[in-house]
Symmetry: C2
Subunit: 199 residues, 2 copies
């Protein structure tokens, strides 16, 4: 449906984001630049937006003519940012902490135009409620290997992760890793008014 | 993860419900009975629950030993029930009506045990917000053929339907056609306490 006037670069190595873009019929190249993703203590929304901008900018510098999209998704539980679990023990603790509670998933994203260097940076926040999880369910999910490449240790789109979540408020795809409706709208606006301003 | 003590019968012809059950590792047979699905003017939640019970019961009568699951999903926009669109014109009207507005998706479901005839009937309600749709977007979606077998004329899980929805409140899978977390929990309770009572 969207016909972008320039090459489209996804500045993210996330297979889930790539899949979501394919889902809405966008073709893209993937170029990922190394940026420091260490949490710097900033307010979570500002941090996610800033990191998406840094990711977009790092790739933009090596291209002359393109539209770029970068994103960063973080999981916030009771004012604590949950990263990707490093091992099974950490995944088990994370999932037990999420069990029976509400948390927030924030994706900051940046659409960046070259050569103009105009950029839009925005975010989406979704609230997610886990039902009470059994130890058995947590163990079986960890054994599937799924938690390890995901912030917060779960994927809402996973076969089993799906039954962990009883309710969400906000954009579903934001929890997968990209707020699809919002990004789609921003790209549509960009096509209609190529000179988009930073808000 | 769930090990049901009896054969499990899905009393629904919906390929989406079958897919969701496979997703959580349940194996099942499908048996569908004809029931009158005509809207009888009842309050929507009561109607969806009643219809799921009728569907379960109609199949249960032909089996001696099984657990059955039946469900019925309805879409309610401003107190009006939206069915499956019969043609492109009706689909276009339906999607234009949904555009920019909030509606409700209600799934009534029944878990039915044979031979005891104990049953649990419950429901889930999810609120869904569409963003403003262009006529082009509506036409392209209708051309994909997707609206015609779906109440309300859209599938939240569809490649393109996904960008129509900017926000939900409630269970995502309920909008797909089965409130996965709730049904999973009820089946777990059933396994632990096989004699489940009708609420």
């Amino acid at each position: 449906m969207l016909h972008l006037p320039k090459p489209f670069i996804l500045a993210s190595g996330s297979p889930r984001r790539a899949q979501l873009l394919r889902q809405v019929g966008l073709s893209y190249q993937i170029t990922v630049a190394e940026v420091d993703e260490e949490y710097n203590g900033r307010e979570p929304i500002a941090f996610a937006k800033e990191l998406s901008y840094k990711k977009a900018r790092a790739v933009a510098l090596s291209t002359d003519y393109a539209i770029l999209l970068a994103a960063d998704t973080i999981v916030v539980l009771e004012n604590r940012i949950l990263g990707k679990p490093r091992d099974a023990a950490e995944a088990a603790t994370m999932l037990a902490d999420l069990s029976g509670k509400r948390h927030e998933v924030i994706t900051g994203y940046t659409i960046y135009d070259r050569p103009s260097d105009y950029a839009v940076t925005d975010y989406e926040l979704t609230q997610v409620w886990f039902r009470d999880l059994d130890r058995d369910e947590i163990d079986a999910y960890i054994a599937s290997g799924s938690p390890f490449d995901k912030a917060g240790g779960y994927g809402i789109q996973d076969d089993f992760g799906a039954v962990f979540i009883k309710r969400i408020e906000g954009c579903y795809y934001n929890v997968v890793g990209l707020p699809l409706a919002k990004v789609y709208n921003d790209l549509k606006t960009y096509i209609q008014h190529p000179k988009i301003d930073n808000e």
